[in-house]
Symmetry: C2
Subunit: 336 residues, 2 copies
Amino acid sequence: MRPNARRTTLADIAQEAGVSVATVSKVVNGRGDVAPQTRTRVQELLHRHDYLAPVFRHTEAAAGPTIEVQFKGGLKSYVAETLEGIIDSAAELGASVVISRASGAPHWARDLVSAGRRAVIAVTSVYTAAHLNELARSGLPLVVLDPLHLPDSRVNSVGATNFAGGLAATRHLLSLGHRRIAYLGGPAMAVCNQARMHGYRAAMEAEGLQVPEAHVRPGEFTYETGALGAAALLDLPEPPTAIFAGNDEIAVGAVEAARVRGLRVPEDLSVVGFDDTSLAQMASPPLTTVRQPLREMGGAALRTALRLANGEKIESHHIELATELVVRASTAPPGR
Amino acid sequence: MRPNARRTTLADIAQEAGVSVATVSKVVNGRGDVAPQTRTRVQELLHRHDYLAPVFRHTEAAAGPTIEVQFKGGLKSYVAETLEGIIDSAAELGASVVISRASGAPHWARDLVSAGRRAVIAVTSVYTAAHLNELARSGLPLVVLDPLHLPDSRVNSVGATNFAGGLAATRHLLSLGHRRIAYLGGPAMAVCNQARMHGYRAAMEAEGLQVPEAHVRPGEFTYETGALGAAALLDLPEPPTAIFAGNDEIAVGAVEAARVRGLRVPEDLSVVGFDDTSLAQMASPPLTTVRQPLREMGGAALRTALRLANGEKIESHHIELATELVVRASTAPPGR
DNA sequence: CTGAAAGCGCTTACAG
DNA sequence: CTGAAAGCGCTTACAG
C-alpha cells in the first residue's frame, strides 16, 4: 500500500479537524469524553486518511496488512483449498494471513482490531445478529465465504452458482438415462444446500419426473451422512439408480455404502459429488462432481477484504463464481 | 505470557548495562556504530529480559506472540491436520498463527522479525545451509515438523516413529500370510521415507524373506506415484499380494490401480497406508494404515516454538511421537 | 467537553 | 564509539 507516502499522524487529523491532538487521541482510543459531533467528524477524517496507529505501522511495512481467516469445525479439504487461494492472493498482494477457529469470546472483534487485523474472512460460518453488532461496533470489515445464510446486504460474501451446479449434476444423470435419482444433502437450513437441492428439483421437474419424498434426505456435509443416507436409500423397495450428493464427502460415504452391499459404482449405482476437492480425484472410482472454484473463491474473498480494509467501496455485497460439471468414473447409464 | 509485569524498556537495559539509552537503541536497531563488546553485553541483557519493541507490545497484548507456519507444495490433508494441531495449541496458549508458503526471498527471516514473528514452524520442508544462516543471523527460532533431513542439532524438529511404523505395517501383512509384499514409497532422500522402508525391510528379513529389487519403488508422496507404481507392480510376472505404501495418497492411488484392473481390495490385493489422514477413513475400502498423531505433532511443534521464542532451553533438539497401526478394511489374507 | 502541558519510550543528528 | 539533547507521535491527568 502507498509505498513512500508519509503516514498520516494524529497531528494531521487534528489540524484538519480544527481540534487538538489530545481530542483526536481520545477518539482513536474510544474514550467517552468527546462530543458526539466532534467524534463523528474526527472518525470520518481518520477513516478517509487511512490512519494507522504507530504500533501497527512497523508490522504493516514489513508484512503488509493482516487479514484474519476464521473457520468452524475441522480443517477439511474444502477449507484447506479455499485457504490456499487466500494465502496465494495474499502473498501476491503483500498481505499476511492469520488463521484461527471462530471464537465466540465476548469482545472478539475488538480484540482483533487491537491485534492489528484489518479484516476478517469467515469460511462457511453462521453469523448471528450479535456477531454483526460486535463487528459493526469494532469497525472491522467482514467477508463470508460460502455463506450459510441468504446473502445479507450488511455483509459481503463470496459463493458459487449452487443452483446451476445442482441443475448440471442432475441433468448429467438424466442424460445417462437415470430416472430414479435421489438427493443426499447437507443441512436443510444452509442456503448453499438449498440451492443445490432446488437445482436438482428443477431438473427433475423439467423432465416431468416426480420426486418421492424419501428420495431427498438432508443431513450434514459429512461422510457419515453419505454412508447412512445411501444405506437407507438402497434399502428402499424401489431404490434410486443414482445419487446426487451435496458434497464430495457425502458422495464418498455413499460409494462406501454401495461397496459394503456388494454394489459396484458406477455399474450398479451412479454417484455425483459437489466441490471437486482432492477427495473427488482420489476416490475409487474417481468422482464425477460439480467443481467449485475454491482457490478462486478464496482469492476473491481476500481481494474484497483488502479493499474494504482500505476503505474502498465494493460494487456488490455478494458475488458468485461459476461451478462446472467434471465427469469422471462414478457415473454411467443405469444397469440391467 | 507474564500478565501484569511492566515490560522491560530500553532505559531499564541501559541502566543495567551501564550505557545510555541511545546506545541500547542502536543495538536494538542493528546500527553499526557500537563496540562489539558493548553490543554483545547489551544483546545478552535484551534477550534475558525478553525485551520487546513497543511496536509489538500492543499486538502481543491483544493476540499473544505470533508464530509463522510455512508449508511447501499443496495444503494437503497431511498439512491441514498438522495445522489444526498447531492452531488449537496456539489458541490454548494465547498465541497467533500466520500461515504462508515457504518463500526464498532474499531477507525472508529478517522480514519476519520486522513483522513481529517470534518463531517459524516449517512443515515438511528442506532447509539448506543458506536457510540456516539466514535464520541464525535473524535470531528467529525454527522448528521443523516431519523433517526431510536427518535431525540436525542446529534445528529443532518434531517427527514420528517412522521405522517402528514401517515395521508394524509389514508385520501386519506378514501375520495375514502375505509373503510377496512390495513397498511403494516417497522420495528416496527423505528420511521419513527411508525409515519407513527400513522398517519394512527389517520385518521382511526377520521372516527370512528376500525382497526382490523390483518390489521397492521410491517416488513422490502422491496419488500418481501410487497409481503408476502399483500398475507396474501388478504387471510383474510374480506380482505382490500386498503393498505397503509410504503414505495414504500413494495407498489410495494403488487401490485405484487395482480397481482399474478389475482386482478387488482386499480380496485380491492388500494395501496399507501411512499417516491416517481423513483420506484413509474415507477411502473405499477404508484403509488399514499407520497413524501419525498429526494434531499432537503440530501441538508439540507449537509449544517448542513458543518456548524457544521465550528464550527457554529445549531438552532435546528432536522428538518423535509414537505411530500406531490402525486396521481397517483394505487388508486381508492373500486370495486363492 | 476541550486542550495546554507534562510525560513516555524511542530515535537520530551531531559534538566530542 | 558514546551519549546529551532535540525531536517524534502519542497518551493522560487535570484545569477550565
